[in-house]
Assembly symmetry: none
Homo-oligomer: 551 residues x 2
DNA sequence: CAATAAGGTCACAAGGTCAG
DNA sequence: CTGACCTTGTGACCTTATTG
């Protein structure tokens, strides 16, 4: 993996030099290409393993004003040269071994179960090289004013050999990063222009302060119910509600009546009033006590220690909260689908009615903010998402807005998909299965960040399980997972969640994924369950703007 | 209580004489028994109240090399003679008065609600006397090479009358003290032999200095609330809080409202804010006054004198602190259980997944340090434990680490327990009752040291009361406590103990316990694990290491 | 001066209040 | 009964005053 990024830097530097030193292009070009392939060879020597996460380079919604067709074609060339070779390559692995195991992504792992492609006919590197070179020259003519990332990765089936993956990956990253650089100013200007009223400015300043602090101090959640803590009360960080309840408890020495659920209630902010007995139990278990009161100013040293200490218990309680939200599969699925449906509706209204192949991005610029807001709404509507710390949420949304938009767009317009995607995938499109599609979008979001925390892993695990349950083990085979993976890949080289191909595990999976039926009545009720007053720490639209301004 | 210890001294002197003047045994025996019972009669005259915390003498796992069966039987005789009488005594209290109130434990309390045993048939004192006498002779033949205290006190239900409690208590103390004396050399030798490396010596020396300093100069505690004093304010050593409160009091001439608890509030750092009236009263009682203000630097001589003077109040105030922490049973229990739960989690993760009967210690060597650290954490998390002086804390932990580990292990793995323990106890295992188990662990720790100070006695008393309260009288019967006792015994560092009453378990136990012996190699590695900045008043892992190195 | 205590300051928590 | 908001008290840390 180290080598990939190294090669990537090389490639990047090539392109950078090309842009700023046009005279030296030829020499530089050769030298750097040499470098590049040396790295790649190292890469290949280093590992003959095959990544399951195969990528396909696919162009995406170019801005209507840019000379996209050329770049598009250039990238397609690379794609084709790889795809052609690939389709001529015989498959070496058994058909049922489609989904790959976790271990194959660990660098140090022995590849007992990895697919060996060593006997494959060699890829015509010179062909790829030629194409990359032509892409390189195209990149120079490109002004990178896409309104989204120019390239997306799409999973291919069967998987491509790892060195091809490597090339694609490098290319994609370079192009997209270049795109980011070129458009930073653009987006920044735009973002500023919408913020010229003093009101918005004040709002934004406040937002940023609360935005920064939680990354350092994780916004101090109530240790009992995971609501927003109002301070350090009776020895623990607690919200106003918990504080009040505990105060009444100790003042009036109330004996609450027995718990009807065997004292097993999980206490989270939504349901903390449901069982007083368990509430009090939880208070005591986290160490709330009249003896633990601390008055006055907080000693600086102690504060740091407390926050650190809280980190641990906080994760646990948040994981509980997540668990509660996924206790009922049907409900969780319903909520996920609802969120996605809302997103779909918004995006559908924003998309141009018909998008010809070379017609550029289906969403026009002024609508983009709306689209991004819709994605944020979608994210906040996902069960469990608000349990993640704000900084993480922002990171996730930032790195996947466009992936989600794409997924959403394709799910609405299969005609579009068939134009954008290689025909190979169209038949496997998740359009036909809205459930799968919604969960995939959720997974795209949650399984996206580069250094996943315990919490985010826990959440994405829930979605994986949901996917397994909803779509059944059969649909857990290649396509949806690979689709997700490719969506993800280009944001990060994450280790991937995987299902083993062994017989026993398949059985277990089958049993695990008992069919799940959804009743429409849930839909209504769950919608009405939306909280009237949104919690303070939801990603707000001003942060949406932030998302945009960072690009 | 004074009389108890007096009588105890008498008894002890009997036994002492017996040991050293065997010729005079007969005469001495008679004379001293007379003395003994005279004291007892005084004791009975003094108070007819019934202690609820009744004790049962239980024999324990003797060393294989000692003529235990005799001593065992002898102690059982005492036990039986008391028990028989006791079971023939009709219960005078109503069945619903099972849980005992705090007030019944206060010496000065009027026993309105105490159980009256005055009308009970008298205990056949001569029978007890005979048995004690036979025990006495048995004691002589005993070499007292137990590896733990041979007798423990266990609460019984219904409570035994106080004079029996008195007898048992005396016996227990005598036997245990004798045990200590006999084994002192043994333990000492062990300790010395493992400390010959200079590194360890240095460590140990440092340890002792920090060990002494807090007990001699407890870094100046507030004379009002026992918090850390910030200096000499208004004539007394006081903390910042008390200083501020007093300043406000005299500045604003505030009239605080009446105390709701009849001006009896104990003022310690935790609860000093609860009753302003009593706070102010205490301020004045310790001599705080505006007239006592003193500016400028303090002459060293005067300071030394003041420190010395302060010393006296220290024990009292620490006991107050302990008392406050046990004021609320529920909270104290919660904290205890929390600490134990944390320990369980750690130990659970350290234990080998499956431990065959002959598989040896379930925790492997490298994990042992972690386990010991966990025990230290557990101890520090127990309410009241940190009120004990550091030296005592270390002693306690040292002598019970493995007991606690075992108890914890058995509480996690009942399958293990059923193999290790005699069938008699398995059914009463505390696995099913986490509360009992946690308190037992706390008791194992706190009731362990050989020469308990006033403070440590006060603490273990609190835990006995907690146990009585929590588990109820029914579970306060002998068995769970016996379990505890056996746990203690067979983890001891010496060669394996044997359950004399069951044939089957003997060799199992032998195999189980042997790997528990710890090699000296721990010493080296453990030293590197010392925390970088341990808080001064917590038993640190370097002391853990000390624990290990002593075995 | 240095050391140290009185006194001031203000971030912060306990406890009260009352509409929901 | 709940919990957002308010009032009051608290105490860590600071400045200022006093003494050897
Ligand atoms: Zn709360
Ligand atoms: Zn409950
Ligand atoms: Zn004080
Ligand atoms: Zn009072």
């Amino acid at each position: 993996m180290l080598r990939i990024s190294e090669a990537e830097r090389n490639l990047e530097s090539i392109l950078g030099q090309r842009q700023f030193n046009k005279k030296k292009r030829k020499t530089c070009n050769d030298a750097t290409q040499l470098d590049f392939f040396k790295s790649e060879e190292q890469f290949l020597n280093d590992s003959t393993k095959v990544g399951n996460l195969s990528l396909t380079v696919a162009p995406l919604f170019p801005s209507p004003n840019s000379p996209i067709p050329n770049a598009f074609i250039g990238l397609l060339l690379v794609y084709k040269s790889i795809e052609n070779w690939h389709s001529s390559t015989p498959l070496k692995r058994s058909p049922n071994a489609i989904v790959v195991r976790d271990s194959e992504f660990d660098d140090d792992d022995d590849d007992n179960n990895a697919f060996k492609f060593s006997n494959n006919p060699p890829l015509d590197i010179s062909n790829v090289r030629r194409n990359i070179s032509s892409v390189s020259s195209l990149l120079d003519s490109l002004d990178f004013s896409f309104s989204t990332f120019p390239i997306q990765c799409i999973p291919s089936n069967p998987p491509i050999e790892r060195h091809i993956l490597f090339i694609c990956h490098s290319l994609i990253r370079i192009v997209n990063r270049r795109f980011l650089q070129s458009n930073k100013r653009l987006f920044h200007r735009k973002a500023v222009s919408t913020r010229n009223s003093p009101k918005v400015n004040a709002n934004e300043a406040k937002q940023e302060s609360t935005d920064d602090s939680p990354s350092n101090v994780p916004s101090l959640l109530c240790q009992v119910c995971s609501d927003k803590a109002s301070g350090f009360h009776y020895g623990v960080f607690a919200c106003e509600g918990c504080k009040g309840f505990f105060r009444r408890s100790i003042q009036q020495k109330i004996e609450y009546r027995e718990c009807p659920r065997n004292e097993q209630c999980l206490i989270v902010s939504n349901n903390r009033n449901r069982c007083q007995h368990c509430s009090l139990k939880k208070f005591l278990s986290v160490g709330m006590s009249r003896d633990a009161v601390r008055f006055g100013r907080v000693p600086k040293r102690e504060k740091a220690r407390m926050v650190e200490e809280m980190q641990k218990t906080c994760v646990q309680s948040q994981r509980d909260t997540i668990a509660v939200q996924f206790e009922n599969d049907t409900e969780a699925l319903e909520k996920t689908m609802n969120a996605f449906r809302t997103l779909q509706t918004t995006i559908d209204s924003l998309m141009k009615p018909s998008m010809p192949l070379a017609g550029g991005c289906p969403i026009e610029f002024p609508s983009y903010l709306t689209a991004i807001k819709a994605v944020v709404e979608f994210a906040n509507g996902l069960p469990g998402f608000l349990c993640l710390p704000q900084s993480e949420r922002i990171l996730m949304i930032k790195s996947t807005v466009f992936d989600i938009l794409l997924l959403c767009g394709l799910s609405i317009r299969s005609d579009l998909a068939s134009m954008v995607l290689p025909p190979l995938f169209v038949s496997q499109l998740p359009t036909s299965s809205p459930k799968t599609c919604a969960i995939l979008a959720a997974l795209t979001l949650c399984h996206s960040i580069q250094q996943p925390t315990e919490l985010s892993l826990s959440l994405s695990e829930k979605y994986w399980l949901l996917l397994a349950r909803v779509a059944g083990p059969l649909s857990l085979t290649a396509v949806p997972a690979l689709l997700l993976l490719c969506l993800r890949t280009f944001t990060a080289p994450l280790p991937v969640r995987i299902f083993s191909n062994t017989q026993t595990n398949t059985d277990r999976l089958t049993r695990l994924c008992s069919p799940l039926t959804i009743t429409d009545s849930i839909e209504v009720s769950s919608l009405s369950l939306v909280r009237n007053s949104p919690p303070r720490d939801v990603v707000t639209s001003s942060e949406c703007i932030d998302v945009v301004s960072e690009f």
